[in-house]
């Protein structure tokens, strides 16, 4: 009997009623007030709609980019009517019994394709020279949902690049107007001095953001920016993200949590950012001192390699745990050794046989080869 009593006691304690929702036919239970997007994130995987403007740590964010549109095919158990239009999953809260279709709805996929096309319409597509390439949400989004060619035949909108202070570069041409940086500046710093100027297609991020640069947290706008519109001037053009090795590190900081990711090559710290979760959101915001001024390995306690999704291009350049290809050249040449091709990764006569390239962090660099008679 005691057992029974305990059981009912524990169910009473858990009495917080959860809402049952299904997303693409997968059921999940979430607390009332949860958005469809967060319910989908609870399920994880393919049913999670892409989100370019929503940012869970920024109040009021979301609703703008429209990439997260989903179909509500049943409103709730109480009112089963479907919602007449697609809704922004990041700003629509679930109801008990709601049924949502994301990737199972052709209508959603079609609309999303449209949104991606709109986002790319005026985008310069300058990924080859953009620092964000490799860790850009828009790049990922367009690979997944976009089409190869644009149907836009007109001149793209351009803006001058602006230095907003010593540390941040604003390249408005790449901006997708997600407003994340506006919320960041607004919510992390004391004064609201940064916003959107002009209207419609001519909208731009207000450059009087300059004024807020004397505060300690403005650097976070770089981390929240989903594209390469706001970049770190102390790291610009220094290296490609996929050539760098991200490591978790921390230091004692009196302004912020001090927990960061260092982007390193060898002992050199190229860039410091906040730690980001799998949805690209920072785990905790960091201060400008940590971000811009602590660029020596000795400033930090390195915890170990940062886990980055295997699919991310960032993991491409690490040369750790190299896999032997299934089809070796010898195999495809029916057992014959190649005469001209050389396996430059282990014994390179062109470089130096004495240097084992697989021991080098990242790709080989001229400094990795000791000079012999002044010739590399």
């Amino acid at each position: 009997m005691a057992f029974r009593g305990m059981q009912s006691f524990s169910t009473m304690a858990e009495e917080k009623k959860l809402f049952k929702v299904t997303i693409d036919n997968i059921p999940v239970e979430v607390e009332p007030g949860t958005t469809i997007l967060n319910a989908a994130r609870k399920i994880g995987g393919d049913v999670v709609p892409p989100a370019m403007c929503y940012y869970s740590k920024l109040q009021g964010s979301g609703g703008k980019c429209r990439t997260c549109l989903v179909k509500v095919s049943k409103g709730s158990d109480a009112d089963p009517r479907p919602m007449p239009k697609l809704v922004a999953s990041c700003r629509t809260t679930v109801m008990d019994g709601m049924e949502v279709a994301n990737i199972t709805s052709p209508e959603v996929l079609d609309a999303r394709k449209g949104v991606v096309e709109f986002l790319l319409l005026n985008h310069p597509l300058d990924c080859p020279v953009c620092d964000q390439a490799g860790e850009c949400d828009l790049q990922d989004l367009s690979y997944e949902h976009g089409t190869e060619a644009t149907r836009y035949e007109f001149k793209r909108r351009t803006f001058e690049k602006i230095d907003i202070g010593d540390h941040i570069k604003l390249h408005m041409t790449r901006c997708i107007l997600c407003y994340r940086c506006v919320f960041t500046a607004d919510q992390l710093t004391n004064k609201r001095e940064h916003g959107v100027l002009n209207r419609g297609e001519a909208s731009e991020i207000g450059t009087y953001i300059k004024n807020s640069l004397d505060n300690d947290f403005i650097g976070n706008v770089i981390d929240v920016c989903p594209v390469g519109a706001l970049t770190d001037r102390t790291a610009r053009f220094k290296n490609r993200v996929w050539f760098l090795k991200p490591v978790d590190a921390h230091r004692d900081c009196d302004k912020c949590c001090g927990k960061t990711v260092l982007w390193m090559r060898g002992d050199e710290v190229f860039r410091v950012t906040a730690r980001k979760d799998k949805y690209g959101e920072v785990e905790e915001f960091i201060c400008d001192t940590c971000r811009f001024e602590k660029k020596e390995a000795k400033d930090w306690v390195v915890e170990g390699p940062r886990k980055v999704s295997r699919h991310s291009v960032i993991s491409q350049g690490h040369y750790v745990g190299v896999h032997k290809p299934h089809e070796t050249i010898r195999e495809v040449m029916s057992g014959r050794d190649p005469k001209l091709l050389m396996n430059i990764h282990s014994v390179s006569e062109v470089n130096q046989p004495s240097v084992d390239l697989s021991k080098i962090d990242g790709p080989a660099h001229s400094t990795d080869f000791p000079k012999i008679n002044g010739v590399q």
Binding site: G63, R66, A111, F118, F154, V196, R199, G200, E201, S203
Partner: protein, 455 residues
């Protein structure tokens, strides 16, 4: 003669001023309300009248009022939407210019019903001279005890403030208006929450159009039931129509919703027909956002019935063959007008007015404008027409506020009904620079069977 309830005294010399307005029965409705009625009774009367919002969407006003949240100790607000910026719409301007006290009386009654002690008139920036008229009327109403503290001894307090916009169409959208009123950038809010729960300063708020609020005065004067007897079906009472374009007598007309579209265009009482004996080609019956109709579908519905100037009849056939009452901006195009150019000028407007918050509207409106520009300038391709269709389809329904839809619909309707004209522009780029496509078959009577099949 149709019945007039709003403009019946508009012709009286000096009606703009308090004394004349009062002498001609003004503030009688307010007196009645403050002396003998409770707020709920007023709302009940408005519900009975069947009054529908005159700002565009046609939502029942009484119902909207009853949705207003009424938490204890939180102020409630009434906001009068006088942003009137929809191309073709200029009826609110007429009301405010000539009958400012009618609006103030309407605001007083409505604020009383809603329990709002501070009420705002948000007026379009370009109506630069009207705030002065309103301010003077407010001052005179104060002087005569119709505003301020303890109005007419009823214990009810009310102040009315006039706020000018800075000339943005988007600030007519109710949540953008509220943002702007709060001193912020006029971006529409993401809903929910709706203004009835969290509006101005995060307090429960009702936003109504000027004409809607003015119509409350005759509703109280004659009673909701009597008001509901005017008109057909759910289109009760009278409606102001601002008629423009190729008409002999453009202007603001008050119609009771019992007349046909044909009568409105051709009768001497209203627009007096089309100048120079030209023929009717097309019409946008409810302001730039609603679908354009060719003459044949405008005068008769696809079922072959006479089309009436009512919410239901104008909407008969839905998007495929109908249009909407919208804000009552009635734009008429005669046989010499070019639908492509006309569509371009609307697309240009929406491109210019998009707030830029959401990607489909921000990017899509400019794209549509540029494609239309190419077609209009003889540089169009056949595939551009389908492209336009696809762009509008991807904007519609996928945006934060209805401006996206409003930008998509005119383009969709123009292509739907005037595709021949677009194709002619593409195929005859040089000729199209010299003259227009003309009336073509757009006024030909529709064979009823075929038309019905098209639905």
């Amino acid at each position: 003669m149709g019945r007039k309830l709003l403009l019946d005294k508009a012709h009286i010399e000096g009606i703009r001023y308090y004394d004349v307005y009062r002498k001609n029965g003004g503030y009688a409705a307010a007196e009645k309300v403050l002396k003998n009625m409770s707020p709920d009774q007023v709302t009940e009367e408005v519900k009975k009248s069947g009054l529908r919002g005159r700002g565009g969407a046609g939502f029942p006003t009484g119902l909207k009022w009853s949705f207003l949240a009424k938490p204890e100790g939180v102020p409630r607000y009434l906001v009068c939407n006088a942003d009137e910026s929809e191309p073709g719409t200029f009826k609110d301007r007429y009301l405010m210019e000539f009958l400012p006290h009618l609006l103030i009386e309407g605001l007083l009654i409505s604020s009383f019903a809603l329990g709002a002690n501070r009420t705002y008139i948000y007026i379009r920036g370009e109506y630069a001279w009207i705030p002065d008229i309103l301010e003077e009327a407010i001052k005179d109403a104060h002087k005569n005890g119709w505003l301020g503290k303890n109005i007419q001894g009823s214990g009810f307090d009310l102040d009315i403030y006039v706020q000018r916009g800075a000339g943005a169409y988007i600030c007519g959208e109710e949540t953008a208006l509220i943002e702007s009123l709060e001193g912020k950038r006029g971006n529409p809010r993401i809903k929910p929450p709706f203004p009835a729960v969290k509006g101005l300063w995060q307090c429960p708020t009702v936003v109504n159009n000027v004409e809607t609020l003015a119509a409350v005065v005759p509703i109280i004067n004659i009673g909701g039931d009597e008001y509901a007897k005017i008109g057909i079906g759910k289109s009760t009472g009278t409606k102001l129509i601002s008629a423009c374009g190729n008409l002999n007598k453009p202007g603001v007309y008050e119609i009771d919703m019992t007349i046909s579209v044909e009568e409105f265009i051709y009768s001497e009482e209203y627009c007096g027909g089309i100048p120079d004996g030209k023929r009717l080609k097309a019409c946008i019956p409810g302001g730039s956002s609603v679908p354009i109709l060719p003459a044949n579908l405008l005068l008769k519905t696809a079922k072959g019935e006479q089309r009436m100037m009512t919410y239901e009849s104008l909407n008969d056939g839905g998007f495929p063959t109908g249009s909407m009452m919208g804000s009552g901006g009635f734009i008429v195009l005669d046989e010499d007008q070019c639908v492509v150019r006309h569509t371009l000028s609307l697309a240009r407007f929406y491109h210019h007015e998009s707030c830029g918050q959401c990607s489909p509207c921000r990017e899509g409106t400019g794209w549509m404008k540029r494609v239309l520009q190419n077609i209009e300038n003889g540089k169009g391709k056949m595939s551009d027409i389908d492209l336009l269709w696809d762009i509008q389809r991807k904007i519609e329904g996928n945006t934060i506020c209805p401006l996206g839809d409003a930008a998509a619909w005119p383009v969709a309707a123009a292509i739907r009904h005037f595709r021949d004209e677009f194709e002619w522009h593409v195929n005859n780029p040089e000729e199209a620079q010299r003259h227009n496509f003309g009336l073509a078959h757009y006024a030909d009577p529709l064979p009823v069977v075929a038309a019905a099949a098209a639905v």
